[in-house]
Symmetry: C2
Subunit: 364 residues, 2 copies
């Protein structure tokens, strides 16, 4: 049906092996025959059969990128960056690798399911983005699956999540064999700490915290940074009372803020787990007739593109998502050497904007 290598070979008057060689360019071929083959390829509009070549070469040019939610710019930006790393810079050269973006929806089952699919495709590499679920059972399953993939030659890169905790239960040789996956992690805890310190320095003492989903590394690290800053300021007694967990979306921010207001009508600041949640928080506060930042300060996290356009512009913590994704992409392709220790932490920078200001009545 479709035109094959053999057709091209016949047209060019050479053997299939020669055509294969010029196409892959890994072998010496005479200039004359090379151009003759190339012309035949053009004329026949030949397109390599990916599956066949993957089978024969036992390698594929697919790179999987797992994200919680493509529709969320947080992941969209990272995915876009990973993909950009596949194309060899400016030149219009076709990338040999192709990124597959897979939506897990944050569900552990779907994460494993997509890994199986990727494993089945014999993916060259896989990049796991975003926070990890902290369920021990899932971690064990994930570790096992990733190790099997790594053993089969798939490069595994973590982006935006910490390295997998070591096995611990001593089943099988751990330190030995395949090395742990390379990780590009975010300084979530440090960023959250600086953010809270910023609010503390403005004079805030009664702050509500809208945390992300429970049992997620990102959620935990951000919350820990926040609590650490509170503790350092001698405010640890409030811990927990003004923390509400929810999803990383607008409505969680809205509902969570109403709940916080119920718990403490006099709070002077709301720290949201991310920018999207912060938007919901702002909406809830406005609906309650509270002004931002005069009555209540609001902060986000991530510094997504829309944060600067919120009204008022959101004070937040900037995470260089694009740079991190690009780096993860290069690590996946082996274009960049892994960092010492296998873990690179990208800095989170405090962005002070209009949504934070001193509280109405400082220090309660």
């Amino acid at each position: 049906m479709a035109v094959t290598l053999a057709d091209v070979a016949a047209r060019a008057g050479v053997s299939a092996a020669t055509v294969s060689r010029v196409l892959n360019g890994n072998y010496p071929v005479a200039g004359a025959t090379r151009s003759r083959v190339l012309r035949a390829v053009e004329e026949l509009e030949y397109v390599v059969n990916g599956p066949a070549s993957a089978l024969a070469a036992a390698t594929s040019d697919l790179v999987g990128v797992l994200v919680n939610d493509v529709a969320d710019p947080f992941f969209g930006i990272m995915a876009s960056a990973v993909q950009s790393a596949m194309s060899p810079e400016g030149t219009g050269t076709a990338p040999r690798k192709m990124a597959i973006v897979c939506n897990t929806g944050g569900s552990p089952e779907r994460e494993l399911m997509y890994l199986t699919l990727l494993q089945r495709q014999r993916a060259a590499a896989v990049v796991l983005t975003g926070g990890a679920v902290e369920d021990p059972e899932h971690i064990a399953a994930l570790r096992a699956r990733l190790r099997r993939m790594a053993d089969a030659g798939t490069t595994v890169v973590l982006c935006g999540r910490p390295p997998l905790p070591p096995a611990g239960d001593g089943t099988g040789p751990d330190g030995a064999g395949t090395p742990a996956p390379v990780a590009v992690t975010f300084d979530n805890s440090g960023g959250a700490k600086r953010l809270t310190q910023h609010l503390l320095s403005l004079g805030h003492r009664r702050m509500g915290y809208l945390a992300g989903p429970v049992a997620r590394t990102t959620t935990r690290h951000r919350l820990e940074g926040h609590l650490a800053a509170l503790a350092a300021a001698g405010l640890k007694e409030d811990t927990g009372r003004l923390t509400v967990y929810g999803a990383y979306d607008r409505s969680s921010g809205y509902d969570g803020t109403l709940e916080l207001l119920r718990r403490d009508p006099d709070l002077t600041a709301v720290l949201a787990a991310n920018d999207t949640v912060a938007l919901g928080a702002c909406a809830a506060l406005r609906d309650r007739g509270l002004r931002i930042p005069e009555d209540v300060s609001v902060t986000g996290f991530d510094d997504l593109p829309f944060a600067v356009d919120a009204a008022p512009a959101l004070t937040t913590v900037r995470i260089p998502l694009y740079e991190a994704g690009a780096r993860a992409g290069r690590l996946a392709l082996g274009t960049e050497d892994p960092p010492p220790g296998g873990v690179a932490t990208v800095r989170a920078e405090l962005m002070v904007r209009a949504s934070s200001a001193p509280p109405r009545s400082p220090a309660r």
Copy 2:
């Protein structure tokens, strides 16, 4: 190295063919042997070799999704929806098809390049999202490429773009052979028209229009709807003078608004090509000391999630991106029958919110 079908067959004491049959479930197999095989699969942790099966079956389970920009929620939402259509509803069943999201960056070359990659992978289907570039040369190349893919058995679905214009130059049999790709189009023109009518009815007469990139179907259709409404109101003289082209991003909205203000300092409304551009427009107006909507009304397009949280909340046109994407996904999989004529147009609904109000001095 890896465990193969043969290994499983040996362990289960059956032939490779039988294992293949239980795995694909398309053939009758005795219950006893079936469970024996399944157990062997479990014990050996066998994972099918995708490339090999694709080669043998001459079909692949990959579905390509081309988007201009994954980091843009407009595309992210559609991509997410397409992907959701791959999973058989509630059941935790693994999707047999896998969506590959490819970033074209809006570049025709990259669009063709990714199609080549997809063609190489022998993709089962490909979904092209977003507006099409209107360069005749590119259209011809695209049409040729899509036809070749369709001939090779790949289902082609358009989502958010109009059907390809017919060949016209009479090269080769056109109407014959493979049918034209199915398309899920947006009523961009109708939505834009209703939006402009809304502003007209409020009393606006001097409106600036921030168009998208030139030579894009989406840009053209939205602009046409706008101009049609103006013409119907007898305002055609202004055509063009108050239209500025730019990218679909915030900075274009910002810069374009400054340019519009230069051309007509007394304009009372700015219509942006999409919500992101509108955000930039709002920022520019605020920086110029103009209030929204008291001094200038602003409208967006698409009704992305953040539109309702802008301050003031954005009057815009809602396009059911998720529904459209899901439908495109089902059409790609053949789960849904194509609409009569091969083209389904989804309605664009006017969403009136706080960013539009009567002008300061009605009717100039």
